[in-house]
Assembly symmetry: C2
């Protein structure tokens, strides 16, 4: 990682600590401070600072927009965890487990509102554009979460539907994070859009890589337990593809495991993974990730700034591509 | 009602029907359309149009901000109903009853975001001010809801605490609705603030009147069943005042009814109301309402526009003051 990116990470960590610093209303703000303190990679706000840097923008001018995105992202995790009934997040109890469902709902609401308070600090000359980007993205994320929940009930989700769902749920915020930085740095609209498309492609690759690592990750480096998605029947790219490509016997086995109530977790993972292996899904998924990765690089190439300025983003994409966790 | 206010109501009804008109994502937007269609008095957006009119603003220029406020208000009802586990709203099942808790959470989130889409349509010259007012108010409403939930667990809520809670939960949105209209009409900041203070006072009077009508309303005109707040132990002004002012025997009876599990509803209402009567709470609450009402008129008086322009707002305050439902 370049020393510039390291300094951005430090600036972000310091700034995130100051969000919701105000006194009072502990039952409203403690859960928000808690989820923000759980960390994570801070990818999105980092991309906002890097998107600005690409066009000569400074972190000082960009950090409020970056914080808005990180607050919004954490709000969406908070509410999604409640809707998905997830007990743990980053190794810690989720907000609705530690406090209650009502606390999770209301603290999340306060986080959306707070994210707009930070977005509203953008320079007046670009405020309408920035607001429009943020609001459009925020709404798409809700649409993506809705599709994700709708798809839980369905066994016939197509590859196209799945890719559209992860575009909305994950990729648009990556695109928005980057474009937000570009807009604040005063980038030409066409170049800002190329950076957005770079983000969409990277975002898709990122989510597909997540799906892949859940099955084929290295237990030692992955951080989470392998097979978590398989155990909770999560509709990942691999499962959708398996339901589509499987032969009669494979599909029967797969559906049996999907409806099984009482089972040995290791056995379920082994059987499902075996079908994925038979269907060559590791390679198929890997190829799709590669496709989006190459498309992302094309988007970056079309942006007319010096190659030197693009170095950090290229390194960033490579890290996502070749990460093992 | 003046023909102008009637035309505003018509314009609002038409415009509200067009909110969330877009196709697609029915599981996300149907609940939002549903709660918006349940009606209600549309007080807040009407006040935005009236606030603009006071300073010569037109409904055409103001209606988007008015819609933003109505959407946000309905979002807060939607999430509050879920947190309060309310089954009915305006005689119809609440969203989480008709769909599910997850639908209520996510549709509500989409409504907050949509409300910002409407607010962002304000003229660029006043956009930062309008955004700041909206965001500050939205956050105060969350704070008010949090206090309301916190106070459910407490028997020692003071009058001052209660008034601050209803200021945050109810009055600030009335103030914001009016001031929003004033800002869009280009009112002088000081005058816009006087209108805001008018709204705060009217909002406090409005909530206290609600508390009073629950006990002393006329069953025929009130619309809701009398004593609903008493049955669910809602911390109203009357209950808080009764807990404070009651003698030893009265307090014992009151606490017994508050902790009663198995009881005849009519009997509980009769006993609690009897204590309120003994403590003269109808008159005490009425006097406080009168105090806020007079304070609101003082705020209106300080605004330097022709008395003729103020007519509609004065009629509006009178209607709230002397309403029986």
């Amino acid at each position: 990682m370049s020393s510039k990116v390291a300094s951005y990470e430090k600036k972000l960590a310091d700034a995130i600590q100051k969000v919701f610093e105000q006194e009072g209303f502990p039952t409203l703000y403690d859960p928000a401070r808690y989820i923000l303190s759980l960390g994570g990679k801070r990818l999105r706000p980092l991309l906002t600072l890097m998107g600005a840097d690409l066009f000569g923008g400074t972190p000082e001018k960009t950090i409020n927009a970056a914080l808005a995105i990180e607050i919004f992202h954490n709000f969406s995790l908070l509410h999604d965890d409640l809707m998905d009934r997830a007990d743990m997040r980053r190794g810690q109890p989720t907000v609705h487990k530690k406090w209650s469902a009502s606390h999770a709902i209301l603290s999340g609401d306060a986080m959306v509102i707070e994210s707009y308070r930070y977005i509203a600090k953008a320079p007046i000359s670009i405020l309408p554009e920035v607001l429009d980007l943020f609001t459009t993205t925020a709404m798409q994320i809700c649409q993506g979460q809705q599709l994700d929940m709708d798809y839980e009930q369905r066994m016939d989700v197509s590859e196209t539907e799945y890719l559209e769902m992860i575009r909305l749920k994950t990729a648009v915020l990556i695109g928005c994070s980057l474009k937000m930085g570009a807009l604040i740095a005063g980038a030409d609209p066409e170049e800002a859009n190329s950076l957005y498309e770079y983000g969409i492609n990277i975002g898709l690759a990122f989510q597909l890589k997540d799906d892949l690592l859940d099955v084929y990750g290295d237990t030692k480096t992955f951080g989470k337990k392998i097979g978590g998605d398989i155990l909770c029947n999560k509709k990942t790219y691999l499962l959708i593809k398996a339901l589509k490509n499987s032969g009669e016997q494979q599909k029967k086995t797969l559906l049996q495991w999907l409806s099984a109530v009482d089972f040995d977790p290791e056995e379920k993972i082994r059987y499902v993974k075996n079908i994925y292996d038979e269907l060559n899904l590791r390679v198929i998924t890997g190829n799709l990730i590669e496709k989006y990765y190459l498309a992302s690089l094309d988007c970056l190439t079309s942006i007319r700034v010096s190659e030197n300025r693009k170095k950090d983003l290229i390194e960033f994409s490579e890290n996502l591509m070749y990460r093992e966790k």
